[in-house]
């Protein structure tokens, strides 16, 4: 089946932004991917894959964001893409990954575990410290969502299924709540 990709780089400004981000950060992004994959070929693929998704659906978002945001986004996306590529190649899968990718309905998210909590200012300050201590697996996905990236798009960037991202987000928020309030942490 022939798949047609419609170019979402619609303007010269978008193309210039895309090129600028690629030229500025490609070496660092490659390093990011290679740190987890230890394979230059695969690391290049991870970088290329992420830029493909940027070109396909996110360059217009980047246009309205700061360069700081774009840089952070690219590093998080490449890191998690690389981790996922490595995980698929590995023979040993972590229990966390098994849980997220399984059909365990008892882990299904019902309501946002942190929304109410963080409307209280004193708890927010503590949350700002605790989020930095989350495992990157949880911190990264939470950061993506906090900055407005939809679950489906996060999944596409990371190379995961949307349901996996949803579960990981839920667990991330439970962990954050546990760290801040000491209640209802992830099992």
């Amino acid at each position: 089946m022939l798949m047609l990709y419609l170019s979402m780089i619609e303007t010269e400004a978008q193309r210039a932004l895309f090129t600028d981000l690629y030229e500025k950060y490609r070496f660092g992004l490659f390093r990011q991917a290679d740190k987890y994959l230890h394979d230059a070929y695969d690391a290049e693929d991870a970088v290329h894959d992420v830029f493909c998704v940027v070109a396909d659906e996110y360059i217009s978002v980047f246009e309205n964001k700061s360069e700081e945001y774009c840089r952070r986004f690219l590093f998080v996306a490449v890191k998690n893409r690389a981790i996922n590529i490595g995980r698929k190649k590995a023979r040993v899968v972590s229990l966390d990954a098994l849980r997220e990718n399984g059909d365990d309905l008892t882990d299904a998210p019902k309501e946002d575990p942190i929304g109410k909590m963080l409307s209280e200012k004193d708890l927010l300050e503590k949350a700002k410290e605790e989020i930095k201590k989350l495992e990157p697996r949880y911190g990264d996905v939470l950061w993506m969502q906090l900055t407005g990236c939809p679950v489906k798009t996060i999944a596409r960037f990371f190379g995961e299924r949307p349901v996996t991202i949803t579960k990981r987000l839920y667990r991330a928020k439970l962990m954050l709540r546990q760290a801040v309030c000491g209640e209802g942490g992830a099992a």
Binding site: A55, E68, A127
Partner: protein, 225 residues
């Protein structure tokens, strides 16, 4: 619209991302990676057109699988059925025809070693030779294009060389190319040709479904290097 707490949390975590990114950028500066031509071309195309070239080159593992498959058997899509085998001789090969696949053995391999190496001459346009693996009785040359198509040429003097093809999927036929009597199998999974020449067994495997006339040109270009 992001809520205030979402912005605050995101900024806080963003500092962690920045630290890691800066450290990686510093490492990259000390020892910058030399990107492969394949990557540079794919990125150039993405920048130019905004469209990915989705035909990726095979990963290392994929290339190994291609080589193993080419050296031993073709990819089969079905399990062998329990039907009586029929033996025929086609083009110098003994052929066993099963219900859903065909196996070939090659009694006409008369060489005892690789005395001269064959290759694709010239190398097809857009391809480059990426590896040559040599054993006592076999040489496997791999060629890759910038668009991700892989070719594998096997030259073998192994009397135990055999092939299988899935005769339920794709098209199988024999044809004469120059003085070579060649078996060709074309399917959605790839394209393979096998023939005996100068006492050697040859197999040319392409990772993609390719036009017959182009594939036959490549077969004709396999000569001593």
């Amino acid at each position: 619209m992001m809520k205030e707490y979402e912005i605050a949390l995101a900024d806080a975590y963003g500092e962690t991302i920045d630290r890691e990114a800066e450290a990686l950028a510093a490492e990259a500066e000390k020892e910058p990676h030399v990107f492969t031509k394949r990557f540079e071309e794919r990125m150039a195309e993405l920048i130019r057109t905004g469209k990915p070239n989705n035909r990726k080159g095979l990963s290392k593992r994929g290339r190994r699988i291609l080589l193993i498959a080419a050296a031993a058997v073709l990819v089969l899509a079905a399990v062998a059925c329990a039907v009586p085998e029929i033996r025929e001789s086609i083009g110098g090969f003994f052929v066993k025809i099963f219900g859903d696949h065909v196996e070939y053995t090659d009694p006409d391999i008369t060489r005892n070693s690789i005395e001269e190496e064959y290759g694709l001459v010239p190398i097809p346009e857009g391809f480059e030779e990426t590896s040559v693996t040599r054993g006592d009785l076999i040489v496997i040359s791999t060629y890759e294009s910038s668009s991700g198509v892989s070719l594998s040429l096997i030259q073998s003097a192994d009397p135990n060389q055999n092939d299988s093809i899935d005769n339920e999927h794709g098209e199988f036929f024999e044809t004469e190319i120059g003085k070579k009597l060649v078996r060709i199998h074309m399917s959605d999974y790839g394209t393979q040709a096998s023939w005996i020449e100068d006492g050697y067994y040859f197999s040319l495997v392409c990772s993609n479904n390719i036009e017959q006339n182009i594939f036959e040109e490549w077969i004709a270009s396999v000569i001593p290097q």
